[in-house]
């Protein structure tokens, strides 16, 4: 008995290891995915170690040096300086912190309620629960997320927390919809029916039978969404609804710098490229994951 279970577990483990190996093989076969992974890692590491790797860490906060303002890129300031003499490279590196935090927190907050809503609606497909939940998500999806997020951000006090809250409010329906699609198709599968027949509780079926089958789709979407949320956050900042100065925020830097075009182009172009770089990383990574996990719904 015991040796049997152990053997089965052993085999399962091997199989899982093999799956992982195969997945990695598939993933690494596409060099773009590797590029994405590398970019994401670079950005995350830069964000974490910003105080140590940025050339002028004190420039992240309350600092002015008008004698050095608006210098073009040079060996001293690789990406130049801004209107009050702060090093743009430093601020871009610290800006990653805000972007990443925004991305991770929003997805982290939006995914769970969206997933639960989608699972429940999908499991109770064609009942009033389904109708209620999915119609609510429809309402949220009826307006482009950035617009509603802007409206919400504007009526709330101007700080990062509320900006994140606004985007989160706009984001959960997408997860609800994704998971709903998967859950409602799984709801008729034999293993779910088998679980129903054996008397498993509804939460058990939803979370132990259906959820694990949605994980790869959810995970892929989360990765791709981090990039999109970073864009949305940057857009909010661009309009003036983002982080408060002196906190370095890429979107705000772009919009501030835009006032000095075209002569001081680096003030706007460098942070803009930093946004593109970050989002590109998450997108390439997400695409790689999608191929690897063979997810189609996302």
């Amino acid at each position: 008995m015991h040796s049997d279970t152990r053997e089965i577990q052993q085999r399962l483990w091997e199989k899982r290891k093999d799956n992982l190996r195969r997945a990695w093989y598939k993933f690494s076969g596409n060099y773009l995915s590797i590029v994405g992974l590398v970019i994401v890692l670079i950005v995350i590491l830069l964000a974490i170690f910003a105080p140590w790797v940025s050339p002028y860490p004190e420039h992240r906060g309350a600092f002015v040096d008008f004698s050095k303002s608006m210098e073009p890129p040079s060996s001293e300031h690789l990406l130049g300086t801004d209107a009050v003499g702060r090093d743009i490279l430093t601020r871009v590196i610290f800006g990653f912190r805000f972007s990443l935090m925004m991305g991770f927190v929003v997805i982290g907050l939006a995914a769970p309620p969206g997933i639960v809503a989608g699972l429940v609606a999908g499991y109770f497909r064609d009942t009033w629960v389904d109708t209620l939940i999915m119609r609510i998500t429809d309402v949220f999806l009826a307006v482009p997320p950035l617009i509603l997020a802007m409206a919400i951000t504007a009526v709330l006090p101007p700080n990062v927390f509320y900006a994140m809250l606004a985007v989160t409010l706009m984001w959960w329906p997408w997860y609800a919809r994704l998971v709903y699609g998967i859950a409602s198709s799984l709801q008729n599968e034999f293993f779910v029916q088998a679980a129903q027949v054996t008397g498993a509780s509804t939460p058990y079926i939803i979370f132990k039978e259906i959820l694990p089958n949605s994980v790869s789709a959810i995970f892929t979407k989360m990765t791709l969404d981090v990039g999109i949320v970073i864009i949305i956050a940057a857009s909010l900042s661009f309009v003036g609804l983002g982080a408060q100065p002196p906190t370095p925020d890429l979107g705000t830097m772009v919009s501030d710098g835009a006032k000095y075009m075209p002569d001081q182009w680096w003030m706007t172009v460098c942070p803009a490229l930093a946004i593109v770089f970050t989002v590109l990383g998450f997108n390439l990574l997400g695409d790689g994951l999608r191929d690897m996990l063979a997810v189609e719904e996302v």
Binding site: A62, F63, V64, F66, S67, S69, M70, A83, V84, P158, G240, Q244, P245, P246, D256, A258, K259, Y260, M261, P262, D263, Q264
Partner: protein, 559 residues
């Protein structure tokens, strides 16, 4: 394969080529006068002469509503007032040919210039003056507050005589008349909408929102909300109208740097707004034929401290802030060419006190004051919230500088970029007013009393012009006394006393005397007010004095 699609591709290519050729990038020759896009800029000297200036919107052209810079500019061009200000702060007769003042200073009788025509051809009479005043008070916005509670009655004695009766003597009354724009009563009455004013309905606010009913040198041709106000010359204007004054005066509702810059380069914008960054003005000045006009506008940048909340309810804390502010860097790095303000009144404003104490950048003194404060040693518990207008890039520099300097002496400042409308909202109550708000305030009429009353009299607390919430009885009494004093010298004496009092209380960091900057096409524009500015907001852009030479403009464009 794909035969159809190839055809489409061909079509697209043709379209794109059309675009590129249509725009003729190749014609670009030099920085000075770049070839414009496909519409060659009108180089002909025939046709109407334009004057185009950029502004920050909203422009409200109802004289009972508008009060900011762009509104004042529009109103000055569309409407007339009883008196007209001079550069030195005195007045000349305008709609009023002359006036008498009763001995008790409680009654002013104005004798109107005869034959003044409104834009619809009807004549301006005393009835219109009475109506304009009553309308301003009933609608209650804009400049209405200036007169509120001071005038008991306005009466037309005959067609050309009108009497203003005061509740009590009102010293700067003649100055304030530069803000009483006379509207065409009959025209307004013909265009009443529904509203809360009984027989007067909406008092014509709906109509006057995008039409004018004035007698000014210009009249509304087209009003495109948030985009553009087009005014055309009124040939039957009763007063001086320069023969070279523009036929069309366009106020363009944008302050966007790139727009202004390309517009100026293409000579499609003749005068820029004042909200450009210093750098932008510098590069504009480098363009051939463009100069930057600078003049003190009688206002200041005030860093207003909420005197009702800790720690700034302590005068020592406020003085510490005043010493910790780097005035030197401000006037050298951020606003070169300006000067540190001396006291609450701008040095160009009649009634300014040249002898008040001037705070300087002195961190040691700041620390001394901090030690005297009841909050000494516990500054960390009282973070100071500093709000600046999100729309203005330069204010962020000042906010960052304040934050960095205060940090040096241990005053924790948190800066918050705040949209203008939010700032107005926040100013509404003591609780919501941040510790510091940096705001430019300009006088509404040309004397120190305008600023002093708006900024420090309790009745104005809670407006965006006074977020200090000074609420000081002694100051209130002094201001009221000054307002009652009709004799100019005597009144100015009280103004000076008030200024000393206020410097002592240090409710505000008096940053610098504001310079209004406008880049303008000096090669083909003669702008007399830029040389000899009038210290009343809006009057320097009375287009009837500005000369535009289309020949010279064509010269610049045609190389």
């Amino acid at each position: 394969m794909f035969k159809k699609n190839w055809f489409l591709l061909l079509l697209v290519t043709v379209m794109l080529t059309g675009f590129v050729f249509g725009c003729g990038p190749g014609e670009y020759e030099d920085d000075v006068a770049p070839a414009p896009d496909e519409d060659p800029v009108d180089v002909s000297v025939d046709g109407p002469v334009y004057l185009r200036k950029t502004f920050s919107w909203p422009t409200q052209i109802d004289p009972a509503i508008g009060s900011d810079f762009s509104s004042s500019t529009a109103l000055t061009n569309l409407y007339d007032t009883l008196v007209y200000p001079n550069p030195d702060g005195s007045f000349v007769p305008h709609l009023a040919a002359s006036w008498d003042i009763s001995d008790d200073d409680l009654s002013y009788t104005f004798y109107l210039t005869e034959g003044v025509l409104f834009h619809d051809g009807s004549e301006l009479t005393a009835e219109d003056v009475v109506f304009s005043y009553e309308r301003l008070q009933a609608v209650g916005e804009g400049f209405a507050y200036i007169f509120k509670g001071r005038i008991s009655a306005v009466e037309a004695l005959d067609d050309y005589t009108v009497e203003f009766r005061m509740e009590e003597p009102f010293g700067p009354f003649l100055s304030t008349l530069t803000r009483l724009y006379i509207v065409n009563k009959d025209l307004v009455m013909d265009n009443l909408g529904d509203g809360p004013h009984g027989d007067y309905g909406d008092y014509g606010t709906g109509f006057l929102n995008d039409n004018d009913a004035g007698s000014g040198a210009y009249m509304v041709k087209e009003f495109d909300v948030a985009t553009q106000l087009t005014m055309e010359k009124f040939d039957e204007y009763f007063s001086y109208l320069d023969p070279m004054a523009p036929d069309i005066f366009e106020m363009i509702g944008t302050t966007e740097a790139a727009t202004v810059r390309t517009g100026m380069m293409r000579r499609e914008v003749d005068i820029s707004d004042q909200w450009q960054t210093l750098e932008a003005f510098r590069s504009l000045e480098e363009i051939e034929g463009i100069d930057v006009a600078r003049w003190p506008d009688g206002g200041q940048l005030y860093l207003m401290m909420n005197t009702q909340i800790p720690p700034l309810d302590c005068v020592h804390a406020r003085r510490a802030m005043s010493y910790a502010f780097n005035y030197d860097s401000l006037v050298q790095d951020i606003y070169p060419g300006t000067e540190q303000a001396m006291g609450p009144v701008s040095s160009v404003l009649p009634g300014w006190n040249p002898n008040v104490y001037q705070y300087s950048y002195d961190l040691e003194k700041a620390e001394e004051e901090m030690a005297l404060s009841q909050y000494a040693g516990q500054w960390d518990q009282y973070p100071i919230e500093y709000a600046w207008t999100a729309e203005v890039a330069d204010l962020e520099k000042i906010a960052l500088m304040t934050q960095a300097e205060s940090q040096k002496v241990g005053l924790p400042v948190e800066i918050v970029s705040t949209p203008w409308m939010t700032m107005i909202d926040q100013a509404g109550s003591i609780e919501t007013t941040p510790h510091i708000m940096s705001i430019w305030v300009s006088p509404h009429y040309g004397e120190a009393g305008s600023i002093l009353e708006a900024k420090y009299h309790s009745s104005n607390a809670g407006t965006w012009e006074q977020t200090e919430w000074l609420l000081n009885d002694q100051v209130d009494q002094l201001i009221e006394e000054a307002m009652r004093t009709v004799d100019r010298e005597e009144r100015f004496g009280i103004y000076m006393q008030i200024q000393e009092e206020i410097v002592e209380l240090a409710p505000t960091i008096f940053a610098y005397d504001n310079m209004e900057r406008h880049a303008y096409q000096s090669y083909y524009i003669n702008w007399p007010q830029a040389q000899d500015p009038i210290p009343v907001m809006g009057y320097n852009l009375a287009a009837r004095f500005i000369q535009v030479d289309p020949v010279k403009r064509a010269e610049l464009l045609g190389n």
